[in-house]
Amino acid sequence: MCLAAGVDFIDLDECARRGVVVANSGSVFSADVADHAVGLLIDVLRRVSAAERFVRRGLWPVQGGHPLGSKIGGRRVGIIGLGNIGSQIAKRLQALGCIVCYNSRTPKDSVPYRYFTNVHDLAVESDVLVVACALNKATRHIVGKDVLEALGKDGVVVNIGRGANVDQAELVRALKEGRIAGAGLDVFENEPGAPGELFCMDNVVMTPHVAVFTAESMSDLRDHVVANLEAFFSGQPLLTPVLPHSPVN
């Protein structure tokens, strides 16, 4: 029973060989992760955390205005991975007036957003990239040098997937050199801890892998785990089984 949506650290093939069934947290956290992703996006574009530091350092009375942010409405946001979480992010961003498009393993029939077959093309047409996909062989470093270049110097990356979905060293270089405009990151390649080079940057917001950790989600997770265990031990199908090669998000 995996207490997470992501199962990248579980050898699903080996489990299948040994007859071990795997369940994950399903969509228990999805709303909270989506909220966090949108919160990071607003924070980076509107410089909320940077402005807070400005106020807390006592600079407001001294320096007057704080540097301006960027308008959110009308921004093109490319979501990488349109599963439970990605869909909820999309819904929230639409309410903020963003134009949503996406890349996923396969296009989803029932959604009104434009589909791109690869992340590079998605990045070309996006102002913001939101990483909301599972981590697997295909998605390791899915946001790398060429995608960052395609996103461009006014582009922003938000990552609530896994640190390894992004080539972190490349991202840090791009931020240092002004080749992208900013980043909102809840996940990193070597947790706990984030690259020190980012600590002085006002156009970056970093959180310590907390997107799921609300009191409400933890309570829902407890109920969900118990329900899966009860199902298993009574011979019923798992509520949220994970199979090898299944589109887990």
Binding site: D32, D35, V38, R46, V55, P61, K71, A215
Partner: protein, 315 residues
């Protein structure tokens, strides 16, 4: 409008200042030291026909200023709120007043939503935690925050900005948001009822005298220890000492504040709290919107100079 003498009360925006300089006869009040401003006004009184102000409490446009400028014809606010302007004196003197509505509605609503998420989810606090090296030092520990989605959001003031906020929070599965239009008297029991049925309150009402202190001790108590208050209206809408005490004592769960009783004067007690997000009155603070506001200020001035109808008159 090259001959129009315009007084700018404080630095607002580089683009606006450059355009005013280029297109009018611009005077900058801050060219004179604080204690010589009276002298400065007297020296230029006969040439000043227009004043440009910013927004927020203390932004200028009071009776004293109006009285010091006998040739004043118009006060142009680079803001949607005009509570800093003495409208009564303006009406008596026949001075027109304009503001910048609509162009900043979306930005203010976006910030309100950002603060509404940030207060329970503590994103700025978490960012400080990472930057201080505490995530690593505490072996990955951070702690739990509180959910935003699906919570009951009560909006005080359902004008342009309030409606834009309502539309946004519905995207987060927040139940149909409740609005409370307030009648024309000071004591408002129904805001207490709104607070009692809300997980979070967003203050988005326009700065009228009736809405002063609308978020009172009673309202804060009704909101309770898990409640969140977001204010993108005016600091004066909230009983600030009561708010500060409630946050410090845990009687209110959290707050996201873009405005304060005295602008730029944030109480020290708030600076020490982790359950508060503090922003420097930046509801309209995007490059795009500030340019749109500046263009509207210039368009109103030009219309006035050409005796055409003002675009966004208040008086």
């Amino acid at each position: 409008m090259e001959s129009l003498g315009v007084l700018l009360l404080r630095p607002l925006d580089t683009y606006l200042e450059q355009e005013l300089d280029r297109r009018c006869r611009l005077l900058r009040l801050w060219d004179a030291p604080h204690d010589r401003r009276g002298e400065f006004l007297r020296a230029h009184a006969l040439s000043i026909r227009a004043v440009v102000t910013g927004g927020g409490s203390g932004a200028g446009g009071d009776a004293e200023l109006i009285d010091a400028l006998p040739r004043l014809e118009i006060i142009v606010c680079y803001a949607v709120g005009f509570d800093h302007v003495d409208l009564t004196r303006c009406r008596e003197r026949g001075v027109r007043v304009t503001n910048t509505p609509d162009v900043l509605t979306d930005d203010v609503a976006d910030l309100a939503v950002g603060l509404a998420i940030d207060a329970p989810r503590r994103i700025p606090h978490a960012d400080r935690y990472v930057r201080a090296g505490l995530w690593k030092a505490n072996n990955g520990y951070y702690g739990l925050t509180n959910q935003f989605s699906g919570k009951r959001v009560g909006i005080i003031g359902l004008g342009r900005i309030g409606l834009a906020i309502a539309k946004r929070v519905e995207g987060f599965g927040c139940p149909r948001t409740r609005q409370q239009a307030y009648p024309n008297y000071t004591y408002l029991p129904t805001v207490v009822q709104l607070a009692a049925v809300s997980d979070g309150l967003v203050v988005a009402c326009s700065p009228k005298e009736q809405s002063r202190g609308i978020v009172s001790r009673e309202v804060i108590e009704a909101l309770g220890p898990r409640g969140v208050l977001v204010n993108v209206g005016r600091g004066a809408h909230v009983d600030q000492p009561e708010l500060v005490a409630a946050l410090a004592e845990g009687r209110l769960g959290g707050a996201g504040l873009d405005v304060f009783e005295a602008e730029s004067d944030v109480p020290q007690v708030l600076m020490a709290l982790d359950n508060v997000v503090l922003a420097p009155h930046m509801g309209s603070g995007t490059r795009e919107t500030r340019k749109a506001m500046a263009d509207l200020v210039l368009a109103n001035l030009e219309a006035h100079a050409l005796s055409k109808p003002l675009l966004t008159p208040v008086v």
